[in-house]
């Protein structure tokens, strides 16, 4: 997917067309610096961002990253004094390191549409999806949707300690660790290794001297937590099964709704999240979206690095598993909460890749 010099003008023209559509949908055009301070991105995304973003050093401003997306600068700009409600659009290069696949683009254009409007979240979700779907109407694509909010509600509904719920929520976006935690919390007994440690009269006997910043008091505090946790009853198997069902659910949106409503009978705490899902489907239908064409995937959005915590969606080229999504997005209230140091602003948005639109459009 290395572009030839003659392709770039066509991609820029397509980007301009998409941005004009977003402006016509009420969005204000905005720009963002290409160089972003690395410390904020590292704080948000952790060490993994280093595998995805190009880092460069600035003798005066410290480590900088070439923007891996526009979300963070747009949220910051909005929080620093945007109108409320607000709709934004942008168009420009983003930069991604590709450590595994030399065929994947290291720089490409994203055209985005972001809505900061807390009045009616279901309607804002549907608006973003529909505006993007209309912009892609001429390209044969498959749409997948998910709802991280339902998974969060289901985790909060588990009969277990607040600490275990927090641990599961922290790793919702890391499926391997999440699975390991869920298996551990669902087991009746701690592992033999753990039981042995906790049975010791003096766990520090024979251990080395206290070195480093993490103090003995911190180790003792965690041992106390482990003892407490060892006595916690396991998460009931029936609840683990329900959570597994939710994560494995794949069905066209209307069928998924009725399945979610069935699960909500056994797990009443997810009713508000399922109601929101239903309201979103109604709003999507109002926007003219054919609900039967939406494939609901219970785990959709769990492997991205974004802070999506509600509605998530992506548009894919049918039969082209080699391609990244042509468009993707979702609700990221959690990101605004982190960036706003507690002050959250409901936000939902999505991006389109004009290079892929052109490539797929040209083939039809």
């Amino acid at each position: 997917m290395v572009q030839s010099p003659t392709e770039k003008p066509a991609i820029l023209a397509e980007a301009a067309r998409l941005r004009a559509l977003f402006e016509a949908a009420g969005a204000q055009p905005v720009e963002a610096p290409i160089l972003q301070p690395a410390d904020l991105l590292l704080d948000l995304y952790g060490e993994d961002i280093r595998a995805r973003a190009f880092t460069t050093s600035d003798p005066l401003h410290g480590e900088q990253m070439l923007r891996p997306d526009f979300t963070v600068p747009v949220v910051q700009m909005h929080m620093a004094g945007g109108a409320d409600p607000a709709r934004y659009t942008y168009s420009g290069e983003v930069f991604r390191r590709q450590e595994d696949d030399p065929e994947r683009a290291r720089e490409y254009i994203q055209v985005g549409f972001e809505v900061f409007d807390g009045a009616n979240p279901a309607r804002a979700d549907a608006e973003v999806f529909a505006v993007i779907a209309r912009a892609l109407a001429d390209v044969p694509l498959r749409a997948a949707v998910g709802d991280i909010g339902i998974l969060i509600a289901a985790i909060n509904a588990l009969s277990t300690s607040a600490r275990r719920k927090a641990a599961l929520l922290r790793h919702l976006w890391r499926p391997n660790r999440f699975r390991a935690l869920l298996d551990r919390f669902g087991a009746a007994e701690p592992t033999a290794r753990r039981a042995k440690l906790l049975a010791l009269d003096d766990p520090f006997e024979g251990a080395g001297p206290e070195i480093g910043l993490r103090s003995r008091a911190e180790v003792e505090a965690r041992l106390a937590i482990l003892r407490d946790d060892a006595n916690a009853p396991p998460i009931p198997a029936v609840q683990v099964e329900l959570l597994d069902d939710l994560m494995a659910l794949r069905a066209p949106a209307p069928a998924a709704l009725s399945r979610l409503q069935d699960v909500a009978v056994d797990m009443p705490a997810i009713v508000p999240a399922v109601d929101l899902f239903e309201a979103r489907l109604a709003a999507l239908s109002d926007q003219g979206v054919d609900l039967r064409s939406l494939e609901f995937e219970g785990s959709y959005g769990r492997t991205t690095m974004e802070y999506y915590d509600g509605f998530v969606f992506g548009f894919y080229a049918e039969g082209r598993h080699d391609l990244p999504p042509v468009a993707s997005g979702g609700r990221y209230d959690a990101l605004t909460r982190v960036l706003g140091q507690g002050r959250a602003i409901p936000a939902v948005g999505g991006v389109i890749r004009p290079d892929l639109v052109l490539m797929l459009g040209a083939g039809t």
């Binding site: 660790r177 070195i211 480093g212």
Partner: protein
């Protein structure tokens, strides 16, 4: 075209490499002064010996500047993200064994596994306001490993030497480094996690998959492989 063989330029690694080739009837030798990095290969026509730091061998193989080279599998995996498409492992050489491990202070009795490390990192970040620091020079290998296992709330800090000392100096909370016997870790009151090593490395003869070749270099390669008892 001259066939280029890259080997470590000094120390025990160089000596053992020379011995290993000698055992297979190929004599390698340095020429000139101690400070001059050039050498000769006797016994096979058309082979030039290139003396390099072991750390440079992966890059030179990937760039096709040398046809074969001796280095550790850890360095190849760290420095070449697409190593399997750029180089081919011809023969493990039976020395230079080292495990890349993650180690924590021994007094962290609550941290036995990656699972514990992750939980301790979360608590550490909440308490100290920054992510737990792991000192290493194997950034890519460690980051890939920790991402695969879903460990969060850590950061890697670069350490090109004396990594085991970083914990005592409080420039890192944990380390990820190579160890052959674990002696240096123990001397610094560090203990490796029970999950086992991130990677087990040893000195290995690699072939470049990108180096240009002609009849002469192919003939030289075939001769070397025949002496080593290797087939394609």
């Amino acid at each position: 075209m001259t066939f280029k063989l890259g080997v470590p330029s000094k120390g025990r690694l160089m000596e053992k490499t020379f011995d290993w080739f000698a055992d297979h009837g190929i004599t390698l030798a340095r020429v000139g002064s101690e400070r001059e990095y050039s050498g000769v290969v006797s016994g096979i026509e058309g082979v030039e010996l290139v003396l390099l730091s072991a750390g440079e061998v992966p890059r030179e193989l990937a760039a096709g500047h040398i046809h074969m080279g001796v280095t550790g599998t850890d360095l190849v995996r760290e420095k070449l993200p697409l190593w399997a498409s750029q180089v081919k492992e011809l023969a493990p050489m039976g020395f230079g064994q080292a495990d890349l491990v993650i180690a924590v202070p021994d007094h962290w009795v609550d941290v036995e596994t990656l699972d514990d490390l992750d939980a301790a990192a979360a608590a550490f970040r909440a308490r100290h306001g920054f992510r737990m620091r792991i000192a290493t020079k194997y950034h890519r290998l460690i980051r890939t490993y920790l991402r695969l296992h879903g460990v969060a709330d850590y950061q890697l800090v670069d350490s090109q030497g004396a990594t085991e000392g970083t914990v005592r100096q409080e420039t890192a909370e944990a380390v990820a480094d190579i160890t052959s016997t674990g002696e240096t870790l123990r001397a610094n009151h560090l203990r490796m996690l029970a999950d086992g090593p991130v990677h087990q490395s040893q000195a290995t003869l690699f072939q470049s998959l990108t180096a240009p070749c002609d009849d002469a270099s192919i003939a030289a390669k075939e001769q070397i492989k025949a002496r080593l008892g290797l087939r394609d």
